[in-house]
């Protein structure tokens, strides 16, 4: 998934191309992909959708969806959206700044950072959560170290088993992901723009405001939307770290699957929640696609 989307952004950096893929002939090589995609993606979604509207008695109905709009489950969606939003904004900004720095550094530095980003961007999940507990938990190494020099984070109410803790933990794979997907856009920035701007008498600030930021904004937006959806669907890290402390949709689905025996409408509530996630992801992806198209015009 990550690699696939990363390529999509890569294409925006090359600013041309793309139209060839639209020709009918171009689809033939995509056949195997289409088959795999259908089997692992379209078909399961269809099944989930079917289950979500099938009651325990085998009859169709929207009972599960009615539950979806009750307070507890709306709360989970809200939690998920909030977490995705904040972690995407934070990691997007930090990642973009690092990518900018990487872009301007030597080529060996670049390959080290992009390799590290490649590993870290895929390093979510349980190991990451435990790494964090070991470092930032109440008895974590870094927390104790900070305590020794007089900074008592937990004394000030901080805990990683919380919303802000999750934002920080997510940053650990979100920032590298941002670096990966945003660097190609930076590579598309030509030094001639800066030099032309300078020779025309513009200050650095004017160049930033009038050229660089407007040029990069679409790609930045696309990358941030990608972070949003990656955070939105993350499950294992959150689960390992906070269990039930913060209400998030994937965690709720997880607990439903885990077999709190459900009856009636609740039997297919998990499916309905999953459909809700798919819908939200699809909306995000539409905006993602739009910003990619916008970026490609740059």
């Amino acid at each position: 998934m990550t690699i696939h989307l990363e390529n999509a952004i890569n294409r925006t950096a090359t600013r041309k191309g793309g139209s060839a893929v639209r020709t009918l002939k171009g689809f033939a090589p995509l056949l195997p992909f289409t088959m795999v995609f259908s089997f692992f993606f379209v078909w399961p979604i269809f099944q989930i959708f079917k289950n979500s509207i099938t009651g325990a008695d085998g009859k169709y109905g929207l009972g599960a969806y009615r539950l979806l709009f009750t307070k507890a489950y709306l709360h989970a969606f809200q939690g998920s959206l909030r977490l995705s939003f904040f972690s995407a904004i934070t990691a997007g900004l930090i990642g973009a700044l690092i990518a900018f720095y990487v872009h301007r550094s030597s080529s060996s530095m670049r390959s080290i950072i992009s390799m590290a980003s490649g590993v870290l961007a895929n390093a979510g999940g349980v190991p990451l959560a435990f790494m964090f507990i070991a470092a930032f938990g109440a008895q974590g190494g870094i927390i104790l170290l900070l305590k020794k020099i007089g900074i008592d984070l937990y004394g000030h109410g901080f805990t990683i088993f919380s919303f802000s803790g999750l934002v920080i933990v997510y940053s650990f794979f979100q920032i590298p992901l941002m670096i990966l997907v945003f660097t190609p856009a930076l590579d598309g920035v030509r030094k001639e723009w800066n030099e032309a701007s300078e020779s025309l008498g513009a200050t650095k600030t004017q160049y930033l405001r009038w050229v660089l930021i407007p040029v990069l904004f679409p790609a930045y937006l696309a990358s941030t939307l990608l972070l949003f959806s990656s955070a939105f669907s993350a499950f294992a890290t959150a689960r390992a770290l906070i269990g039930g402390n913060v209400s998030l949709v994937p965690l709720v689905i997880g607990s439903l699957i885990d077999g709190n025996i459900a009856v009636g409408a609740e039997a297919n509530l998990g499916d309905a929640l999953a459909v809700g996630m798919v819908v939200i992801s699809a909306i995000v992806m539409v905006f993602y696609g739009l910003s990619l198209r916008w970026a490609r015009k740059r």
């Binding site: 600013r15 032309a196 020779s199 008498g201 040029v215 740059r298």
Partner: protein, 355 residues
């Protein structure tokens, strides 16, 4: 006609090092007001470096720069008021064509109405009056370069700097746009430095052509002088002399080429009898003669290519490389590949170089 007396730009003793590599060495150049000087030289000879130093994009160098009587050495680019046109892709991709052209005026806080008027004039001048609202990616490479030119001229620059502005375009467009650049340059009277590695291009647009080699200016002269009287073998090789024929000095000021003795126009070495040299002979400086003419050399035609009014022949004359000979197409019509052909050098004198 603009009188080109007053010195607009004076570069003195410019030197630039990248680590231990000297990109420029003791480079001096004066450009008269309203003049177009082309810098010509192979890739890596330091042309771009000169341009960037004059434009203020590179401030770390030795030597002095005086523009219109003011020493501007060390002044940053944004204060120099010089227009630059780069090889390609220099338009701001997020702005329309007219916004690009207006950029420098916007920086100078010119009112919107006045900006629009000026950009419309300039776009008209580069024949793109109807494309003001287009985005750069909607234009062809040639159109983009014309917009870049209009953008550079919008600020009424003291000096216009062009770094191989045509090298990314195809041959036909290249000729068309270089003529436009020259027309506009004459119209506006803008002092211009034009960098290129294309000999024909430099000769076609410039008042004077400076031939550069290894970070130095070898010769700077009008195109005609440079062509007829290149001062060094390097300059000669850059203005169309392609044949290097082994030869021998015979007496003072004379050289024996193939079976013929000709005067020497230029030779840096000592005129020692019997010294082995190479003679530089232009393809068009051969004449087809009958086989029994004294001094003629006979060889076999190996290649033949028709170039419109001229036909280029490759002739085997018993020396290691093929000799390239240009004949008028009417003379060459009856010659086929495989025929034998007798030639003499038709020019009165030739340039000679050490082996």
């Amino acid at each position: 006609m603009i009188t080109k007396t007053e010195t607009a730009v004076s570069l003195s003793n410019i030197a630039k090092h990248y680590g231990s590599v000297a990109a420029l060495h003791d480079f001096s150049l004066d450009i008269a007001s309203g003049e177009l000087v082309a810098l010509l030289g192979p890739s890596g000879c330091g042309k771009t470096t000169v341009l960037r130093i004059l434009g203020g994009l590179d401030l770390e160098h030795d030597g002095n720069i005086v523009v219109a009587g003011t020493d501007i050495t060390g002044m940053p680019s944004d204060k120099r008021n010089m227009g630059m046109v780069f090889q390609a892709y220099s338009l701001f991709p997020n702005m329309t064509v007219e916004e690009n052209v207006e950029y420098g005026l916007r920086v100078r806080k010119v009112s919107v109405a006045e900006r629009r008027k000026r950009s419309a004039e300039l776009l008209e001048m580069v024949h793109l009056g109807h494309r003001g609202k287009s985005l750069p990616h909607q234009l062809s490479g040639g159109q983009q370069q014309r917009v870049a030119l209009a953008r550079a001229l919008a600020i009424s620059p003291k000096v216009l700097l062009l770094d191989e502005p045509l090298s990314a375009l195809d041959a036909q467009v290249r000729v068309q746009i270089r003529e436009e650049i020259r027309r506009i340059q004459l119209e506006t009277g803008t002092t211009t430095l034009f960098v290129t590695h294309d000999q024909e291009e430099a000769m076609a647009v410039a008042d004077r052509v400076g031939v550069m080699n290894l970070g130095q200016l070898e010769q700077i002269d009008s195109p005609a002088t440079l062509y007829n009287n290149p001062k060094s073998p390097f300059a000669a090789s850059f203005v169309g002399i392609t044949n290097k024929i082994p030869a021998e000095i015979v007496g003072s000021g004379k050289v024996k080429i193939l079976n013929q003795v000709v005067s020497v126009s230029e030779y840096a070495g000592k005129m020692e009898n019997g010294a082995k040299v190479v003679a530089l002979v232009r393809p068009e400086n051969f004449e087809m003669v009958s086989e029994d003419q004294s001094g003629s050399t006979t060889g076999r035609v190996v290649t033949k290519s028709f170039l419109g009014p001229m036909t280029k022949l490759g002739v085997e004359l018993g020396i290691p490389s093929l000799v390239s000979v240009n004949l008028t197409s009417s003379d060459a019509r009856k010659i086929s590949i495989g025929d034998s052909l007798s030639l003499v050098v038709s020019s009165e004198s030739v340039m000679v170089d050490r082996v």
